[in-house]
């Protein structure tokens, strides 16, 4: 098992947001997490990534059989955890190229590999840009600075392609995208899928799941996974709405 979350509780400023999450993810799988706003989807991603804003009050997260609580944010990342953020932050003055080169080489160093020579790195950038159909010279601009919503999301997928994570959690990467951009993002994900990695796709809409076919769909509601099923669950949820979930509780 790649990721095993057991009875996870997390709070911010004493307010409990996650109230006992259980989730198992195996290599090669795609999981979708759906749920209304404010139920803790982004919080779950942040807690897996190790954001110290949140306190884990109960439960555990095992990743590759390691207890994640013992690892720093960067160690988790170097172990292959990647978050495609719902709201990617703008970092003026840091170019995407330098950013990615630093990240790639730190991850390589963690694995005991030498830094990638500049030429090879640039080639790799070009290749990955094509994968997410970035044609403009986005890469020499400051990270996310002045990017449109769509550009930011595409840039997240580009970074994912560069870092080749084992577990990618994509937090509402689809929201705010038009249908073309959505297709690009989904294509990117599908091309990166291997039997060795896994994806957790957080989304509001069933729409994305027509392009990225999930093996499992989970509904997160008020800090708990209240229902899990196959890809049909997403369609059912789309038809019946979240009230249907509320009534069932």
């Amino acid at each position: 098992m790649l990721l095993k979350i057991t009875n996870l509780h997390a709070a911010i400023n004493g307010k409990e947001i996650l109230k006992g999450i259980n989730l198992d993810v195996n290599k090669g799988e795609v999981h979708a997490i759906m749920g209304p706003n404010g139920t803790g989807k982004s919080t779950l991603a942040a807690v897996i990534a190790g954001r110290d804003l949140f306190d884990v009050t109960q439960g555990e997260i095992l990743y590759k059989r390691k207890n994640l609580m013992n690892l720093s944010v960067e160690e988790r990342a170097r172990e292959g955890i990647f978050i495609g953020f719902q709201y990617p932050v703008e970092i003026p003055g840091v170019s995407i190229t330098n950013f990615m080169r630093t990240a790639v080489n730190e991850i390589r160093a963690y694995k005991g590999l030498d830094p990638l020579p500049a030429g090879e790195f640039l080639k790799m950038m070009e290749k990955k840009k094509k994968l997410v159909e970035i044609t403009s010279d986005l890469t020499n601009r400051s990270v996310n600075e002045g990017f449109s919503g769509g550009e930011k999301k595409r840039n997240e997928i580009f970074q994912m392609a560069m870092l080749e994570p084992t577990l990618a959690i994509l937090d509402e990467t689809d929201s705010g995208l038009d249908i073309d951009a959505l297709r690009v993002v989904a294509n990117g994900v599908n091309k990166l899928r291997t039997p060795e990695n896994a994806f957790v796709v957080i989304t509001h809409y069933q729409r994305l799941l027509e392009y990225i076919i999930p093996d499992f769909v989970h509904i997160l509601y008020e800090g708990r996974i209240v229902k899990s099923g196959g890809k049909e669950l997403a369609i059912e949820l789309e038809e019946k709405g979240y009230d249907w979930i509320k009534q069932q509780l």
Partner: protein
Amino acid sequence: MDSVTPYRITPERLLDLFEKNRSELFANDPPDVHARREKALESFQKKGFPDKKLEDWRNTDLSESLNREYDYPLHRTEEDDQHKVFRCNIPHLDTAVIGQLNGWFVSKDVPLIELGNGIIIGSLAEAMNKYPGLVEKHLGNYASVEQSSFTALNTAFATDGTFIYIPDGVKSDKPVQLVNVIQHRENIFIQSRNLIVLGKNAQLTVVHCDDSYDHQPSFSNVVTEIVLDEGAFLDHYKLQNLNNDSTLISSTWFHLGKNASLESHFITLNGGMLRNNTFVKFNGSFGNANVYGLYLMDRQQHIDNNIFVDHASPDCMSNELFKGVLDEHASGVFNGHVLVERDAQRTNAYQNNRNILLTDSAKINSKPFLEIYNDDVKCSHGSSTGQLDPQAMFYLQQRGIGEENARMLLMYAFADEIVNKIAIEPLQHRIEDMVKKRLQGELQICEQCVLHCSTPEHPAEFKIDVSKI
């Protein structure tokens, strides 16, 4: 060599020193220069050293610096003249290097040269001899003894420094690098004076460095007057890498004529107690001045940037952007004062000061201030102080970048906005390198901004690569 006994520099000692040495020290003065000296002394006598009761000095406390004992040499010594530090150069940067050691112009037997195109570069003392009319016309004419008692003291005492004259229409093809190194057996008190004159439509790039050679305490009171005649252009760099026990009061007085244009950069990498007084006066219309600053301080270091821009003429533009990173117990002051006078219609004036405080004990006192007596102006001022953005830190770390490197990337990105304004490419690379080293805590005080003789160049190895590839 006579042995010296350092003493506390007090106004009384200074006045006494002036009286005792006046006939011999100031024998070369052109008459107007001498008159300005007397007036300056009077002004200093009235005011003395500034203390924290003065609004302008409220957050900069010189008492510790002034309580130290210093040797104050009134004459150059043999050693000052023959010093070996001024030999070499930064690779690829083709500049004319002139050196000052302990405030004295290092002549290497040629105290003053006049180039074929009329450019004069040399010792100010020598210039008073050879070109008394030219010196007299400018020296002390721009630096106001009323506005600053340190300038008054310098005007009263200083006899040497650097003189640069660029005649009308002449464009200096090489940057002139003025390197001011301090090295002395005792604590030293220094007062040097520089005068830079750009004629009509003249152009010049000056790189002005303040460096220490060792860890000996020093107190420098340096005044530089820079006058730009109509249409002149000056690209000016002030780079400071002094030891932690140095005190520097550096006052730069810019006077801009009609259509004159100034790009100025104050880059402070190290020092003990530093105060940059920068005065910009627009004496004609359509003048243009960009004044940038970057300061990276830690330990108990203190940096005070005090900038006064006088829009005395219409249609001028001034723009200030100062950025600082303060670590440990470092403290900083930004006092920006823009005065728009009654007749200065269509003035554009912008001021911005941004700071990052890395610890709870680091301090900044930032006060951008606009004083406007005209309706037809576009002005803005802003100031911000914060920590490194925790969201950005998390984002970088989530991509596998370690905390130390993530901090470094963000700090460098912050500083880079100013480094990017450096127009001379090799100098930009050099400064970039020094800023990286500084942020990593690896910059040596003996690492001079451009001279680096004894050891070969060691470009900073950033574990992360923030160079542009």
